[in-house]
């Protein structure tokens, strides 16, 4: 056989991945409302298939990319010539991983709304798809300006999703959320403009930013501009106050988007746009960031243990988990365990948290409440549901053979190498996580049946009216049906992913290792000697 050049992801695919959700979203707006849900599901499936093809075409071993090691599918066109912004996209291993996370979770998120009838459903699914497009855009952009546009664009659909379909106090809460994240973003914009003005010839390209050698004192300013934006989005400890309320108020599909994918934007952006660009400042503030993260872990775990509502427990647990991811990432360990652990844990957390909030959705739609006091004994009525919930619970407390185990192990390992004490305190997250997750499971699933969950004799299947009962107090009483087919179709892939990545995390290593190596080498290469 002749030597075929190994396949490389073509630019057409990367453009299609970026553009398809927007087009699909606009098409849904034109369809009659009753098809919106199905059309959205089909669109996300097509997008997932496209991603599948991209994985197949993606060449991990490509070395001759003009950009970062195996950056491919590159499109680089002038866009706004006036100030050098370009339409510049491409995927390396890390981007690919994030795109996979987004596009594989989206069908599940859409499917999780299958039994729910939204008012103005066209608009809802349009916003969800717009969100998907914006998220993919964040992950594939290689031009800082383009990246910023998508970063902001992702905020608008989720704002409206919560504002229009959220729970109590949504106006006030969404507003806080919006102002909070936007103020961070505007600071980042100022940072981006400053960097742009430093580049010779004026460029927003990631390559131009990486080539900068910035004075260490100036790096600190840029660091803060970026770090605040990311710390608010993730969120890290002193900037987290928008998060619990927003997660709680958002419709569950919105919470899944927020926690499953959107917060990963912050961590991804740290890897791509902050750490290699201002390495001196990152090293200078490394201890501070890790301490913030660890304080966040302890604090959030503590609060989670005292919460009385299932959804709030999961919201706080999310803060604890991302704190650990960021802490591990910031060790910048040369053995790559920090980066790799963060990447694996991002995927694991994304999968698990979607599962957890779907558990919330199911309990909420069946019983009209997620307050722990009112739950109990569900396992007797819905054994399949209880088993699935157990698997997800185990995954989020990082039991071996689940996806989180390997991630948390690597993260704690790298923290241990960095500092014994940090690892010891951060390790509490596993213990505390076990406490609050198992408590949540025990109180809601085991024990005496609460009044709300007593099954009525002879009632099988789920009557339609019980699904729309998202309003607390209006749930249909005395009834808890086990999983329906569409619900199983959400849960089983999640369980599959939990086990698959628990046993074979090598997939993520293989995909991202070269990119991680490259980013770490950029950091050492770019350290400006302090004068």
């Amino acid at each position: 056989m002749a030597n075929h050049p190994p396949p490389v992801l073509s630019p057409a695919i990367s453009v299609a991945l970026l553009v398809f959700p927007f087009i699909a979203g606009l098409l849904i707006l034109m369809l009659p409302s009753k098809f919106a849900k199905r059309a959205a599901f089909i669109a996300t499936l097509i997008q997932a298939a496209l991603t599948g093809y991209a994985i197949y075409a993606f060449n991990i071993n490509m070395r001759n990319s003009p950009l970062m090691v195996n950056e491919q599918g590159i499109v680089n066109m002038p866009w706004i010539t006036q100030f050098g912004a370009r339409f510049f996209i491409g995927l390396d291993g890390i981007s690919m991983l994030m795109v996979i996370l987004t596009n594989f979770l989206l069908p599940l998120i859409v499917l999780s709304t299958w039994n729910r009838e939204f008012q103005r459903s066209k608009l809802f699914y349009f916003l969800v798809l717009m969100m998907q497009g914006a998220l993919v855009g964040v992950f594939v952009s290689l031009d800082a300006f383009l990246y910023y546009i998508f970063w902001e664009l992702a905020l608008i659909p989720i704002y409206f999703i919560i504002l229009l379909w959220g729970g109590e106090n949504r106006v006030r809460i969404t507003f806080k959320f919006f102002i909070y994240t936007l103020s961070g973003s505007l600071l980042m914009l100022a940072g981006i403009i400053w960097l742009y003005l430093q580049t010779p010839g004026g460029s927003f390209g990631v390559d131009a930013f990486y080539a900068l050698r910035i004075d260490p004192a100036a790096q600190r300013w840029v660091f803060w501009a970026f770090f605040l934006a990311f710390a608010i989005k993730i969120p890290l400890l002193p900037f987290h106050s928008w998060q619990p309320d927003t997660y709680f108020t958002a419709p569950n599909a919105g919470t899944m988007l927020l926690s499953g994918i959107m917060l990963k934007m912050g961590i991804y952006s740290m890897m791509r746009w902050m750490i290699p660009v201002v390495p001196n400042a990152v090293l200078a503030y490394r201890d501070m960031v890790i301490i913030l993260c660890i304080a966040g872990i302890v604090y959030a775990s503590w609060i989670a243990m005292t919460q009385k509502d299932l959804k709030r427990i999961f919201a706080w647990s999310s803060i604890a988990h991302v704190g650990l991811i960021t802490a591990g990432l910031f060790t910048l360990s040369e053995s790559r365990t920090g980066f790799q652990g963060a990447l694996i844990q991002m995927i694991a957390h994304g999968t698990n948290v979607v599962g957890l909030f779907f558990v919330v959705e199911i309990i909420q739609s069946r019983m009209g409440t997620t307050e722990l006091d009112k739950l109990g004994g569900i396992r007797q009525k819905a054994p399949v549901f209880a088993s699935v919930f157990m698997v997800i619970t185990f995954a989020s407390i990082a039991l071996p053979l689940t996806n989180s185990f390997i991630g948390e192990f690597l993260l704690l390992n790298t923290l241990y190498e960095y500092s014994y004490w940090f690892a010891a305190i951060a390790g509490l997250t596993i213990v505390a996580g076990a406490v609050y997750m198992l408590r949540a499971y025990k109180v809601s699933m085991l024990g005496e049946s609460s009044q709300l969950s007593i099954i009525k004799d002879g009632v099988v299947g789920i009557p339609a009216e019980s699904h729309s009962a998202a309003v607390p107090g209006q749930g249909r009483q005395g009834y808890f049906a086990d999983l329906s087919t569409s619900e199983k179709l959400v849960f089983f892939p999640i369980v599959g992913l939990i086990v698959f990545f628990g046993i074979y995390p090598q997939f993520i290593f293989n995909l991202t290792d070269e990119s991680v190596k490259y980013l770490l080498s950029e950091i050492t290469k770019h350290l400006v000697p302090t004068s």
Partner: protein
């Protein structure tokens, strides 16, 4: 140049058509006339015609004229909706609007201070009448009177400044004044006084702090359509005239004469405009303060004074004008007979009329500067331009101002999606109105995604 002649004739033609009661052909004539003016104007691109040392019709003038013609056309189409119940005076209104446009055209293409003054007067006198065009309405009369008094004041300042300038340089010609500034080492104090007085006069026109006091009352009192006119065409013309004069003539003495004053004006305008916007409960008042704040942003490129300033001002004016026309269209459709619109009256809009809701969202988001809409790029353009000139502190002030602004731009949007009100009477709009609203939305989106289309326009 032919554009100016055409527009003047068009104004008289419309007056005559109105006088002879030919209302049916009024609108077609106006639209054809403006379209012809737009084409004639576009044909002047890259020709740079001078006219008796009075007018200099360069690319800067062509770009701004083109923008203003499009905006006026949109407002004219809205007029068919706005005056649907009181058609008696519509010919006069059209004619006056065309005269305002003529004045605005002179304001962006003058090369002599006399022409600047004449342009401002042509524009202002027609506007005073327009502000009072609801003759039976008390607040409309009040607005007209206030606007007239303030306008007369500002003309006085301007004229005084021009006189001082003439006294020093012995010329009204911009080129001569510019040469004088560049060649003279010791510029007399009286010249600097003239610079400041002209600045005060123009500041009144574009309504920046501390010369903004008329804005909220006049915006609120005037008919919505005229308010839209003031917020867009007048502001664009004013800032274009302002920049043209200070860039051509006074850039060399910026540092030791007017720069610090303008810096303070700019910062104060951005902050006060946005903070006061937060406190408003009436939509037109809120938009008035928003227009004050936007005037502040438009001063930033004047401070930067570099080769991209003209483009930045042009792009910002365009983004701001189209978003404003769209938002005023929405306000117009909701405004009751008493010409007032408390912000909570947006409640239930999303159920009532999706097109208007979409227009509201797009225009408010664009004014707030949220990507990927035109308003965001406009702000961005201005910030980059200012940071190039090392104006970092004022950029931070402007960013804080934008953050405050988001609060009040979001309030109508949030109310619009609040549906716990009894269903209102269906809002009826006409075809011309819908065309304008859709065009406004499309332009705001397209300018946002492809800013390159116009961002380079005024050239150098």
């Amino acid at each position: 140049m032919s554009t100016l002649v055409l527009l003047s004739l068009l104004g008289f033609l419309v007056l005559f058509l109105g006088a002879y009661g030919m209302k049916k052909i009024l609108l077609p004539v106006v639209i054809t006339g403006l379209a012809a003016a737009f084409v004639l104007n576009a044909m002047d691109w890259n020709t740079t015609i001078t006219w008796f040392n009075m007018m200099l019709y360069d690319n800067y003038a062509v770009s701004f004229t083109g923008l203003m013609i499009v905006v006026v056309l949109m407002i004219m189409l809205l007029a068919t909706y706005h005056f649907r119940n009181e058609d008696s005076q519509i010919a006069d209104i059209y004619a006056l609007m065309i005269f305002v446009l003529t004045g605005a055209l002179v304001m962006v293409s003058y090369s002599s201070l006399v022409m600047l003054f004449i342009g401002i007067e042509i524009l202002s006198i027609a506007l005073y009448i327009l502000a009072g065009s609801r003759r039976m309405n008390l607040s409309s009369n009040e607005a007209a009177l206030k606007y007239f008094l303030m306008g007369a004041f500002s003309s006085g300042f301007l004229l005084f400044g021009i006189a001082l300038m003439f006294g020093v340089t012995n010329s009204f010609d911009l080129a001569v004044i510019s040469d004088y500034v560049n060649d003279t080492d010791e510029i007399p104090v009286i010249f600097h006084t003239g610079v400041i007085l002209i600045m005060i006069g123009l500041s009144f026109k574009i309504g920046v702090v501390p010369f903004h006091f008329w804005t909220p009352d006049v915006y609120q009192g005037s008919p919505v359509l005229i308010t839209a006119f003031m917020a867009t065409v007048v502001k664009t013309a004013g800032i274009a005239a302002f920049y043209r004069l200070y860039d051509t003539c006074f850039s060399a003495i910026a540092e030791n004469s007017w720069y610090q004053i303008l810096w303070v004006i700019c910062a104060a305008t951005i902050l006060l405009g946005n903070i006061s916007g937060v406190l408003q409960n009436e939509t037109k008042r809120m938009l008035a303060w928003s227009s004050v704040a936007h005037a502040g942003y438009l001063l930033l490129p004047m401070l930067a004074l570099n080769e991209l300033s003209a483009s930045a001002i042009f792009y910002y004016s365009a983004a701001y004008s189209f978003a404003s026309v769209t938002s005023f269209a929405v306000v117009m459709s909701l405004c009751g007979v008493n010409n007032e619109l408390p912000i909570d009256q947006f409640k239930g809009l999303s159920k009532n009329n999706p097109l208007l809701t979409f227009a509201l969202v797009i225009s408010m988001f664009s004014l707030a500067g949220i990507p990927p809409l035109a308003g965001f790029f406009a702000k961005y353009f201005i910030f980059v331009n200012a940071m190039r000139a090392n104006l970092n502190i004022i950029v931070i002030i402007a960013i804080v101002g934008s953050l405050i602004g988001i609060y009040y731009y979001f309030r109508p949007v949030v109310y619009a999606f609040n549906n716990d009100v009894p269903p209102l009477e269906k809002i009826r709009t006409n075809l011309a109105f819908n065309i304008v609203v859709i065009a406004g939305i499309m332009i705001t989106l397209i300018l946002g995604v492809f800013p390159d289309l116009v961002s380079g326009l005024p050239g150098n």
